[in-house]
Symmetry: C2
Subunit: 566 residues, 2 copies
């Protein structure tokens, strides 16, 4: 069969193989070559933490098709008709002659390859802190299959007692859980004031509190100053910026990644503000013969219109599919941008997010409203577990702009729901009567996502006057003249309470005990309960009694991000 | 406090209490009265099967708030300021004088109550087959708390050995599972040719096969002709239309419900084609002073525009919220219609649906395209479980009109995703790069919903020429001149195969074995594999070799609705 064109793909992890497979499906006659620097192909790198933590034991599962066939060069050749060359590093691209130079990393042999179309899927590289001791034995990242095997070996050998994870993002926290499962005492160190920076502060705090409840340590607002080694150049401690030294035998650096755009930059392709390769909606670079996909590119956030770096495995695949098709048959399909949706499991907790945070919205001067809702995912009789959601919408139009959800409940469904709602440009009003799947094993009769929309609708209509836990804490700390009212039952109060100077009047007795409230009808009154549904009803009763400044603490005790008295 | 208006609500299960609570929040001074015929209030009736099956043991959990307070009249009065009167049956409504007559079912006393606004939430009543023996001991429905307690007692006593469930809908199958868990031998009898009639046939068959794999019996296309009793008027068998007698000591009738519109009809309110009370978008009946919500009303399907009866607990609550607000403050909010979304757990299987089926689309002469996709919900290394989805879209616009998903995997997230996509009027093209939450504990890198969109996109572009399992079976049965090609590995073929005359050529060897295919390039060739991804790639290779009539069996072996050879 005559080869009509040669499509060369640089990179064989996620976006590259996807682009190659899509190109093959659309052009059975093209010559399709993957050049992969590593010795493995199609590594499910998002699965590394679960291999390290012992969810499964066979490392080949990370490299296999669902039916258990390893995706090696032979597989690519026979099943896909793709020439996948491993241990092959691309050194440079000559765009004028449409050639690239490569080197075999095992034999050191070099060669030249012509291309009709080139797809760059060069991924990302780990950021490293610019400090001493980074080369010590016991200091590692978690980027490669080799890293994963190194950490898995540490788990299996059970020799290491203490480890520090540098970075409180997705990979950092997944690594924290994996090593904790291995019986290692863990401290997570995060330079910024909070972990999980794609969440707003209070949502990150709920996650941090959960991690701490598992006896893992979290230190925020502190960076690494030095890795300290012993006489054998083995790590013995991590020194932090504030001088504290954390004894440990292992440190995993997970402070994030940056786009691997070197090859593109050297070839004179346009590089964006984020360091990623600039592509248009066809995933085409500034050279029409060269496409790019995956962690090496710069994307557009669909909500803000901003250029962003979004190194996520699902996006890499979706971008690769677009790049593969367009490289094979000409620009036919587009990639419509990202919401930067993500999710992460942390022990028994999940944290998910899509669209913008309130913090980002403020930075961008977007006029938004938000609400926090706490409620179970299912009925109590089905063992429902807590969900706490923060929903953010445009103040004028009500268009949903972002959602964050954390808790032990089914965060997955919540974030999928909001991600599609944002994609569909739906408003809060659209979502208040969304017809979602309901049966007791799966949700409440009114799903948590819908009650969240109800709360935000109530807030936008001025019916629910919300106040954040953070503001309440500040008022309590400053001993402001504010009357804080817990309207739960006495038994609930005995079991758990904030202890910030609140008064307990159970909702059921409130109508008869209104005279116990401050005489001054202008006193600021803040109501709450476990999740602030009763708190809301209390506020309405109190307002109706003539009080003019009544608020509801959003999410109630379940969303309280600080320690409690009890 | 002066009572400015009196809102009377007839019905205290789901829609009624929700309407009452919403009305109270918006009007602290109104007199709000619930009249409830039964002795319980706010029963979580969707939870009955799980109480019967033993998921939980305390029946009061069905009647309690999340914090464990029973929602009795005292609770309504103290916490909500609502006068909830149980054992109170409304006999008639006099719309001219805005009065209703009620009777206490315990004391038989009657009374008259005036209303400013009336909300009818009279629910539904069980359909009963018009056959002999329906009053025998051992024949029951599952509608009331009493029914639930009766069946729970049967479970606890462990005396009954055999039971028949009449009806293969949601309640029927949930009851089947509950009684099966109690160790009772179960047969489900369904009059129509399939169970779960809100699914297309092949999706229902996959569900039926799962039920049978659990050693529960399913008989379709057969109704009940008679309940046969012994000399003590105790059920001893169910006789079916075809004469078969099924020995059993218990029969649960679950052939569906119809709107309880009697009170409304007698009062001269407009009743719709479905038998439900006609309401406008404000949930207002033909009498402006009377609203209605819940199972007693007729709704509009948002996709088809048709009037439908949709007796679902989540909708009842959402409708109640709208009726409550509008009754309290005048028409302010609307209910935007239903997608008739639903979900059901059946043993280790789930079945979910939203929007239209292909069958309904055909009945309505809608020009649609559809595809079936089978793939796991998560990576194999995370213990991913199968999902099979059928997605239906408008042929011209690509607008998504319906989705059905069955399998042991996370059906919940899939149906939530599609329900919001339909609400947002999204197209297949919109969904091919949806940015959904991904991490290995939660989904595949390309989520099942997105690969489903990819398949339908490929089909709409003419790249994937799909054929249904049903058509393949017919061709095989009729010994048509068709070449059926299984492209899985030999080991997979040894473990499991269809046995419909197929030839095995593993995909990896196909390019070299093309000469084994029929010489006539116009022969119809049907390719498949486990889930038909490899089958698709095989079809492209074969087409490229000059074959003109190559198809892919959608969903592969995993979506095969018939028995297999192996």
């Amino acid at each position: 069969m005559e080869k009509t064109q040669r499509i060369v793909i640089v990179g064989g992890s996620a976006a590259g193989p996807k682009a190659a497979a899509k190109a093959r499906r659309l052009d059975q006659n093209a010559e399709i070559i993957i050049l992969q620097k590593e010795k493995d192909l199609s590594m499910a790198s998002c699965g590394y933490p679960y291999y390290i933590g012992g969810t499964f034991d066979n490392r080949n599962m990370l490299l296999s098709t669902p039916t258990g066939v390893i995706r090696d060069p032979k597989f690519y050749l026979n099943a896909k008709g793709i020439d996948a060359r491993i241990c092959t590093e691309v050194l440079r691209i000559d765009r004028t002659s449409k050639k690239l130079e490569f080197r075999n990393t095992e034999t050191d042999e070099t060669g030249i390859l012509e291309y009709s179309k080139l797809i760059l899927a060069t991924g990302s590289v780990s950021k490293l802190p610019p400090v001493r001791g980074i080369d010590l034995e016991g200091v590692t990242t978690l980027r490669s299959m080799d890293d994963a095997e190194y950490l898995r070996k540490i788990r299996d050998e059970k020799k290491i007692k203490k480890a520090v994870v540098i970075g409180g993002g997705l990979i950092g926290l997944e690594t924290c859980e994996a090593l904790h499962l291995a019986g290692i005492e863990i401290t997570v160190v995060e330079l910024l004031p909070q972990i999980l920076t794609f969440l707003d502060w209070e949502m990150a705090m709920l996650s941090e509190n959960h991690i701490k409840s598992k006896n893992a340590n979290v230190i925020t607002g502190n960076g690494v100053a030095e890795f300290i080694g012993d006489e054998n150049n083995k790590l013995k401690a991590v020194k932090l910026s504030n001088g504290i030294e954390l004894d440990c035998e292992l440190a995993v650096i997970a402070i994030g990644v940056r786009p691997n755009g070197k090859l593109a930059k050297d070839a004179g392709l346009e590089i964006g503000v984020t360091g990623g390769i600039v592509v248009n909606e066809y995933m085409q670079t500034s050279d029409p013969s060269i496409y790019a996909a995956g962690d090496c590119v710069e994307l557009t956030n669909s909500v803000t219109g901003r250029k962003v770096f979004a190194p996520l495995g699902d996006l890499a695949n979706l971008e690769g599919r677009v790049a593969g098709e367009n490289a094979a048959i000409g620009n036919a399909v587009t990639f419509q941008g990202t919401l930067q949706t993500g999710i992460c499991k942390i022990f028994d907790f999940k944290a998910g997010f899509t669209g913008v945070t309130e913090r980002l919205a403020k930075e961008l001067n977007m006029d938004t409203v938000s609400v926090i809702n706490a409620s179970p995912d299912k009925p109590a009789f089905m063992g429902g577990k807590l969900l706490v959601t923060k929903l953010i919408a445009d103040r004028a139009s009500g268009k949903i702009l972002g959602a964050q959800c954390v808790g032990p409940g089914d965060v997955n469904r919540q974030i999928a729901t909001w991600a599609v709602a944002i994609k569909g440009k739906l408003t809060v009003e659209d979502m208040v009567d969304a017809d979602l799947p309901y049966a007791p094993p799966f949700s409440l009769a009114i799903d948590h996502s819908i009650t969240t929309a109800h709360l935000l609708q109530n807030k936008m209509k001025g019916r629910l006057k919300g106040i954040s836990a953070k503001e309440v804490k500040t008022k309590a700390d400053n001993k402001e003249n504010v009357y804080i009212l817990d309207v739960r039952g006495s038994d609930e109060y005995e079991q758990m309470r904030l202890g910030i100077g609140e008064t307990l009047i159970p909702l059921g007795g409130l109508r008869k005990r209104l005279e116990e409230l401050p005489a001054d009808r202008n006193t600021e009154i803040i109501c709450y309960c476990k999740i602030s549904l009763r708190g809301y009803e209390a506020a309405l009763i109190i307002e109706n009694a003539g009080y003019t400044n009544v608020k509801v603490m959003e999410g109630g005790i379940m969303a309280w991000p600080y320690t409690r008295e009890k």
